[in-house]
Amino acid sequence: MENSNYSKLQMTALVGLRLLIGWHFLYEGVVKLLNPNWSSMGYLMGSQGFLKGLFQGIGTSPTIVGIADFVTIWAMIAIGVTLIFGFLLKPAAFAGMFLLALFYLAYPPFPGIESSAPTEGSYIIVNKNLIELFALMVVMAFPTAKSYGIERFFVKSTSVPATT
């Protein structure tokens, strides 16, 4: 249940985190949607680590890649929109964590696994995908949509009794 007794700092941190992750998801989705040449195939085929068979298997079939592309783009946009507007936070955060887990497992930053994808930092076991995944868990565990978000209207209409 949503706790409305967060301190100002806590609320700022939690809502801020939610909006920033939402922004990130939405923009990643929109960019892919606007680029007619974008495809997840290269990403899938470059997969490394213990699940590379699965990812490369998906990447081999143009039909499945087409479905994967569609699902990825619209899932990212939907997750972004729900996080930003503040409704259905739990399923959105859960779906986002699931996607991030796939991204993490496609290129796991484990010792001994060479990745062909260039990275801008140095990572061992922990990388930004994993951190964003846990940040989404925070967003899910400490909901804020009833304070800042569309869910506020639903709370109001059902839980504010006439007191006079």
């Binding site: 085929m45 081999t60 569309i150 506020r152 109001k156 504010v160």
Partner: protein
Amino acid sequence: MSEQQDKKGFSRRDLLKGLVGIPIVGGLFTAAYAKYTSDAKVKSTILSGLDIKAVAPPSSGPMSGNAIRLGVIGFGIRGKQLMRALGFADKKWKEEMIEATKKNPNDTRLKDFMGQENLNVQIRGVCDVFDTYGEMAVETGTVDGNKPTRYRTYEELIASPDIDAIVIAAPDHWHAPMAIAAARAGKHVYVEKPMTHNISETYELYNTIHESGIVFQVGHQHRQTQSFLTAIDALNKGSLGHISLIQTNTNRNDDNGAWQYEIHEAANPKTVDWNQFLGNAPKIPYNGEHFFRWRKWWEYGTGLSGDLLTHDFDRINCLLKMGIPKTIVASGGVYTHNDGRDVPDVFQVVMEYPEFKMTTSQEQGKEKGMTFMYSATLGNQYNRGTILMGHDATMELGNSMIIYADPRSTRYADWLKDGTATADVPLYSYDPRAKGLDGVTSATAKYFADKGLLFTYRDGKRVDSTHLHMREWLSCIRNGGKPSCGIEEGFQEAIAAHMGTLSLKTGRRVEWDATARKIVGFENAAIDNILVSTGKISV
């Protein structure tokens, strides 16, 4: 709550907090739109400025009508590849490919072969001096009730009245004698590179082809590579400015790449017609090393010059039509495979074109001349790309094509100044693979693939370039027209290669007299002797 509430029971604060997403999404889309339009503007400025047409080349004519009746000479490594390009795969290869596909589902070689267009040809005759290969060729060419005849000699095959055209995949020292005999008999010819083994036969073949009027194609299949056709358009539109230096390379580091081919266990003096193999080469007793690894000796092969420099020379010649160089200097040695071979495994050639001119962005007359460099080692496979260096930009060329603006370019000065172009991000890149990926196995195969020698793309689909090259030849036979690598191109390729070997062996700078159309300072017969002799010559 003390604030004033609207009639639905929500305060202004409720609205602000509830709709916090709207300004955020608005901000995101404003920023995204600004970035998108600015990126699109840069892209359209560059694309319309360069005006490079990345269109697929027109397909050669229809393959309809009567089947063309072919005779194939040589069923070794290349002969088998040529037969596959024609639509006939040997059983052993098919079995290997089924295994390869099982091991690696990304390996599409079998699928590509099965998807190849039917070229409407029949293999009527085959000839290979090794019984095992000869019989394999018969088996491979047997389709739909048509069984090719195995001829014992190439003369008999050429003389056969039910053969229209000849494919020659014999060792280098047999290319010209077979092609000349076929042309004199009025048979069309597809001959592997290099076109000839020495100078005299280069002139003889040239004259014979002109007199015979047959359709003649040299096997430089990269002429079909889609990226090369796009590169030609880019160069014609001056995207590089004046090119002063071209760098091409061969880098291999495996036995196959160093011509250490497998010696077939069934080969012996009884199963190999050794005398016929030797032909004009010195008479020596049979040995499997010379028979299967003939590329390692000058008597049969043409070394790195004829074997691999010719590919790079012709790739560039097809882009720039620069022809035979004014002078050539070459050097090299046997440095990585001291196994008794006498052709070098490390080899460099520098060709000078003092009169070479291109579209320029600078004042007329300032730029003239170009150097073409070829550098090869069979002891390291670090990938050094093919690089064309112009005043305005650098082009890196393989199956894909990338152009980088030069920081000091005249043509792109404004773009570099306002940030439309930067030197470290490609100005233009063209990759016909688009969304596809390739499963290529051996290291040597990868090297070729990178150069556009193994396969190319049509409508995003991977196609064997040799298949397209042979298709073009067959189309010219059927529908008329001129093959892209005919006798003129073959002559230039062969002369340049032989000049390289001549320079290597004599330690001299070798000069071409374009008016007299001959190599300066040598009689043809003398050059022929030098080309097949072992070791350094003193002149």
